[in-house]
């Protein structure tokens, strides 16, 4: 439902950070009721652009017009007043508060006495969450929710603002197909009411499903704005990365070698139920399942991050006891967590320091760290994964989301673990870099590493796995070979059918 003139126009937008020109003379406009997609590689400047609108980047240059009137957005509060709501790429919830308290933080409905109307906070929040069919109890604390559920809470919070411009910076990076469907249905309802949406995502199929126009950024510059209808995926990718990308899943199959990891009846009350499987060298084992099916819990249990109630773990055929992440790492296991900000990165340490954090012992003698060897290793990964950073000494907090993800990935590649547990390894990573990561996985497998890959992206699971385990309610609902695995079969199993 696009109509009339733009509700929002941005002209000659520029933003400079120390050592980085994040945006250079960018133009952007948004029609009423439109879903306008922002597309670009990791570090292209998408988040920076929308943060200017949300008042989080007040030091930008250029002109912003709302309904043709020039505005200055200096604080997040001002943005709210202007009817702009944003869902940031990184989760910004307060873990110790409930979902409801987070949704209404700073805008709590009050009773006449001046106290917060706790009942209304919960009921209003619950109805927002229900509108999303999120299946989340609004009175649960956020720290008990999974990353995907937290993303739903973020969406609900943005909705509660009743904004006329809604910005979503990778809202679906941890969601599975069904939740994405709910979200899209909701976006359609909103746009029908005249709300305009700026949508950022690296999942290309979403863009075609929900977007009306697309603006491509590259290296902080505006490349093109065009309607999505009539544009092919290949064209968009080329505009984005400025080179030809042939295959999206360049899977190379390796003859599986000896057994690397065997799990027998691993259980944790209420979370995992008698999980058994084998993982061999050279193999990529995909783990699919819905939100809350126990995928992440399985990885955490294998890594010693959570205690288990029963079951046995064998590595190279020998029984092992894994009581802590340290034990796991000694056994050659690495775990790339799904929550990069909370569990993957030390934001105020440098790129180099984060990459080497899990393997510092290798770069030091008698406790003394060799910076040269550390830098050599780190710069290898920065080149290989094309991490966009002004230097190895840059604090990771200043990297774009996708580049942060590449740093976490590098940390585990650097640790030279032979059994890798990847939990949403390509979350927030652009199409070009994804292919590079898949190629790296191929190479790891060819070198005899064993990979367990959890992913919410079914295409990725199907495209990159040698075998797929589907989880449902803490159990393994079924196993599919690469040849058998189709979206439909996986979904059936994930929903508890067969």
């Amino acid at each position: 439902m696009i109509s009339g003139r733009p509700v929002l126009e941005m002209h000659h937008i520029g933003q400079v950070f120390p050592g980085v020109v994040a945006l250079d003379d960018v133009h952007f406009d948004l029609m009423q009721g439109e879903v306008h997609v922002l597309l670009g590689e990791n570090g292209a400047g998408k988040s920076t652009l929308v943060k200017i609108l949300s008042g989080a980047n007040p030091r930008s240059s250029g002109q912003i017009l709302l309904d043709g009137v020039e505005v200055r957005i200096e604080t997040p509060r001002r943005a709210q007043e202007l009817g702009i709501a944003i869902i940031y790429q990184e989760l910004n919830l307060i873990p110790a508060l409930t979902a409801a308290e987070n949704i209404f933080l700073g805008r709590e409905p009050r009773r006449r006495s001046g106290f917060i109307d706790q009942k209304r906070v919960v009921t209003d929040a619950q109805s927002l969450l229900d509108e999303l069919h999120a299946g989340i109890d609004a009175s649960r604390r956020v720290c008990e929710l999974s990353v995907a559920q937290q993303q739903m809470v973020e969406v609900a919070r943005a909705l509660s603002l009743q904004a006329r411009i809604l910005i979503m910076d990778e809202p679906t990076s941890a969601l599975t197909g069904q939740e994405i469907g709910e979200l899209f249905a909701l976006i359609r309802r909103l746009t029908q009411r005249g709300v305009s949406v700026i949508y950022i995502s690296h999942r290309m199929e979403e863009i075609f499903e929900i977007g009306e126009r697309v603006t491509v950024l590259r290296d902080g510059r505006h490349i093109e704005t065009r309607p999505i209808a009539g544009t092919s995926r290949e064209e968009l990718v080329r505009l984005m990365v400025n080179r030809e990308l042939k295959e999206h899943f360049p899977k190379v199959r390796v003859e599986p070698g000896a057994e690397a990891l065997r799990v027998e009846k691993l259980s944790r009350r209420g979370v995992l139920e008698e999980i058994s499987f084998t993982l061999r060298r050279g193999e990529v084992l995909g783990i699919a399942g819905l939100l809350g099916s126990g995928r992440t819990e399985l990885a955490r249990a294998l890594f010693g991050a959570d205690p288990v109630d029963g079951g046995r773990i064998f590595i190279k055929g020998k029984p092992v006891r894994i009581g802590s992440p340290r034990d796991a790492i000694h056994q050659g296991i690495g775990y790339l967590t799904e929550d990069r900000k909370g569990q993957g990165l030390v934001l105020n340490l440098a790129v180099r320091e984060n990459i080497c954090l899990a393997s510092l012992a290798r770069f030091s003698r008698l406790g003394w760290v060799s910076r040269t060897r550390e830098s050599n290793a780190a710069s290898g990964f920065v080149d290989k994964l094309r991490i966009r950073t002004p230097g190895l000494g840059q604090q990771v907090r200043y990297l774009s989301g996708g580049n942060q993800q590449k740093v976490v990935m590098s940390k585990w590649l650097c640790s030279e673990s032979r059994i890798l547990l990847f939990d949403e390894p390509t979350r927030g990573i652009d199409v070009g870099a994804k292919v590079e990561i898949y190629q790296l996985m191929n190479k790891l497998a060819a070198d005899g590493a064993a990979i367990l890959m959890i992913s919410s992206e079914l295409a990725e699971i199907i495209g990159m796995s040698d075998r797929v385990l589907v989880m449902c309610q803490g159990r393994i609902a079924g196993e599919l070979s690469a040849a058998e695995a189709t979206q439909q079969k996986i979904l059936n199993l994930a929903l508890g059918g067969n």
Binding site: R326, L345, G367
Partner: protein
Amino acid sequence: MRVKSLFLQHGRQLTTLFVLILLSAALWALSPHFMSLSNWLNIAQQTAINAIIAAGMTFVIISAGIDLSVGSILALSGVVMASALQAGAPVPLALLLCLVVGALCGSANGLLIARGKLPPFIATLGMMSVARGAALIFSDGRPVSGFAPGFRAIANGEFLAIPLPVWIMAAVYLIAHLVLSRTRLGRYTYAIGGNEEATLLSGVNVKLHKTLVYSLAGLLSALAAILLTARLNSAQPIAGMNYELDAIAATVIGGTSLLGGEGQIFGTLIGAFIMGVLRNGLNLLGVSSFVQQTVIGAVIIVAVLLDMMMKKRRS
């Protein structure tokens, strides 16, 4: 360009240094005595004790902790050492004993925090009381005094015309700097303070390193006890009262964030000097100790405010 990158890297320390220079200039204008070599050596000597404790505090605060027990640990290790000296123990042995007592108290803190999962504030608040009580029990509440000249030389000896405590302080800071910037312990201290969960999930022995950090703080308190006892020629069970506040102040003025994960050791040294210079200058000006107290408090607040404003400007 070099200047710019220097500023980006060490901007925070340069601001603190600038405050110190400004303060010194003001005091010089007010009291010509201030800018003499002997006065500066005096300041350095008086700053040494706080600075040494603050070095340990900096490690603790970077790891996102706090240590309230440093003053009490100083008192306890001081009276234990003094009693050993009086009982005729050779000086090196007494010094070693002192350092061991300090390190043990520190590791007790560390174990309570890392293994017992107590909040650092609570664990060290308890230790503050326990160690103080132990010092009083051990010494019967009386000062232990009168030592051989060999021991007292630690405080009044000189090397190249510079008092030994100043040398010791310099050595502590040099080593602390190297440990923080070049060793695994240092790296893990920042990492734990920045994101303990991520550090743990990277396979770092978080418990061990936390314990080491608190042990180090205890050890440095004991080192300060040696200097103080030698200077006063007496060990007091009530020594070191409020020293934790001075150490925290020096650390925070020096730019270390109480939230952890950030900070530079030389910032703390400058912070300790700001406090030392201020005390010395106010003394020279004949300002009463009551007023001094107020002024120092105000300076702490202004210094931190200034820093936060600068930080905002830069980001």
